[in-house]
């Protein structure tokens, strides 16, 4: 988040943009909004990072940031898409994970840093976002989008999405 007030104002406007596929999450919650800078001549430069390489939501988020800032009166706005450093679910905010859970999607369990190379692959139990049961089962590792796996709860019997650690 930028330190100077002018850039902070632009950041707050860009940060209102939500993920078109998960509308409860803003791009700030997701960690997709990386930086907002304002040059001396008033030009705004926003940097976004893609979640998954092929995610079609990115183009929509990029256009929405452009629109939000243009509507707020900034007339020279550039949105850059940056690949490095690569996005990770570790950048998702606390508020974001809570909103996600209330929306019915379980937030990533554990940190991406634990996914280093090596033979041991431990999947922690995924909690049901509705009844908090740990008695759940994976139905499909690739769910409705690349970022989600499909689970079912064996206690309340509801299916739910799990946002995978990346």
């Amino acid at each position: 988040m930028p330190a100077d007030a002018a850039a902070r104002r632009a950041w707050d406007i860009a940060a209102t943009v939500t993920d078109p596929e998960i509308p409860v999450l803003t791009i700030e919650d997701l960690g997709v909004l990386r930086s907002v800078e304002i040059a001396d001549d008033g030009a705004v430069r926003v940097a976004l990072t893609p979640t998954y390489s092929g995610c079609p939501a990115l183009d929509a988020m990029r256009d929405d940031v452009l629109l939000a800032l243009t509507h707020a009166g900034y007339d020279d706005v550039t949105v850059d898409l940056v690949l490095a450093p690569a996005w990770t679910t570790d950048w998702m905010s606390e508020a974001g994970t809570e909103k996600l859970r209330r929306y019915g999607i379980q937030a990533p369990t554990g940190r991406a840093a634990a996914r280093d190379a090596g033979p041991v692959r431990l999947q922690l139990a995924v909690k049901c976002p509705r009844c908090d049961s740990l008695h759940t089962r994976e139905l499909a590792r690739f769910g409705s989008t690349s970022c989600k796996a499909l689970y079912e709860c064996l206690d309340c019997l509801e299916p739910f999405d799990y946002f995978k650690v990346l």
């Binding site: 898409l81 940056v82 690569a86």
Partner: protein, 292 residues
């Protein structure tokens, strides 16, 4: 589509008319593709290398897309579709970078290159076959790509390093998916096991090409830009052996590569690439310059 050039009967002598791909319009339309990682322009060698990697990803993505509505179960339609989508993302970044050397857009490279101009390895253009063949191809592809991208993360070329770091995390999930299905098919019914064994045998002649070095990669590897394919072989074999041990499969031996006079990296392809490109490129070529 918002702008489709009108075609008149007397234009038919040249189906493309005098309309060429509108670079400006495409660039505008696909501004989202401008993954500016570093805003760097590729050197001719780095561009050629990025094109190889991009072609591998794009051809495999096209193959996986063909499974949608045809996979054994609904979840597999979704999984293979999503894996294909990740690969299209990798291909977009890589071809965008490759095109920066010659001022061509990623769409231009995807839709307006003919068969001999493609640089993908033969493995990626092999047909889907039955589900076991697709899984065997995915297992080989993702084990290879994971090792490649992990090493390429240390490339001295910042754009390639950034694309690799992003891609490696996703390919890790693709590999996991292929491993799960390999175990399931090999340990399933007699029929699924028989098919998995056949698929592995049919896939293996295409493995060696992935690990062939040539002048381009040797030049680039000397500068730390590219990963020498041969340097990945031992780790690839070890990863495969680990999966095969668990699945009670054997790595086929004595099956030599038949790329001596051919090889996708040199633009010589098997009979499968042509029809695949025809299907992938038909819309863009029928409506040059159209935007969606």
């Amino acid at each position: 589509m918002s702008t489709v050039p009108e075609t008149h009967a007397d234009d038919l002598h040249d189906v493309h008319g005098d309309v060429t791909v509108d670079q400006v319009e495409l660039a505008e339309e696909l501004a989202g593709a401008g993954l500016t990682g570093t805003g760097q322009t590729a050197s001719p060698d780095a561009a050629a290398y990025a094109m190889r990697l991009g072609d591998d990803a794009l051809v495999l993505a096209q193959q996986l897309g063909l499974w949608i509505t045809r996979a054994p179960e609904l979840e597999e339609d979704v999984a293979l579709g999503n894996i294909g989508l990740d690969l299209i993302g990798h291909a977009r970044s890589l071809l965008h970078y490759a095109g920066s050397a010659t001022d061509r857009s990623e769409d231009d490279l995807a839709y307006w290159r003919d068969e001999p101009e493609w640089r993908n390895a033969w493995l990626f253009e092999q047909p889907n076959g039955d589900f076991a063949h697709t899984i065997a191809r995915q297992l080989v592809a993702s084990c290879y790509l994971l090792e490649l991208y992990r090493d390429l993360t240390a490339s001295t070329d910042p754009t390639l390093a950034a694309i690799a770091a992003k891609s490696a995390k996703e390919v890790d999930y693709h590999r996991d998916h292929a491993v799960q299905w390999t175990l399931r098919l090999a340990g399933g019914t007699d029929e699924s096991r028989r098919r998995m064994i056949t698929a592995v045998a049919d896939t293996w002649p295409y493995v060696d090409e992935l690990f062939e070095d040539d002048d381009l990669v040797e030049r680039l590897a000397a500068d730390g830009v590219a990963v020498l394919p041969s340097s990945l072989r031992d780790r690839f074999d070890a990863a495969i052996d680990e999966v095969f041990a668990e699945a009670a499969l054997e790595r086929p031996v004595g099956r030599t590569a038949f790329t001596a006079s051919g090889g996708g990296r040199r633009g010589r392809h098997t009979e499968h690439l042509g029809p695949l490109l025809a299907e992938m490129q038909v819309l863009a070529r029928q409506h040059p310059g159209a935007s969606w």
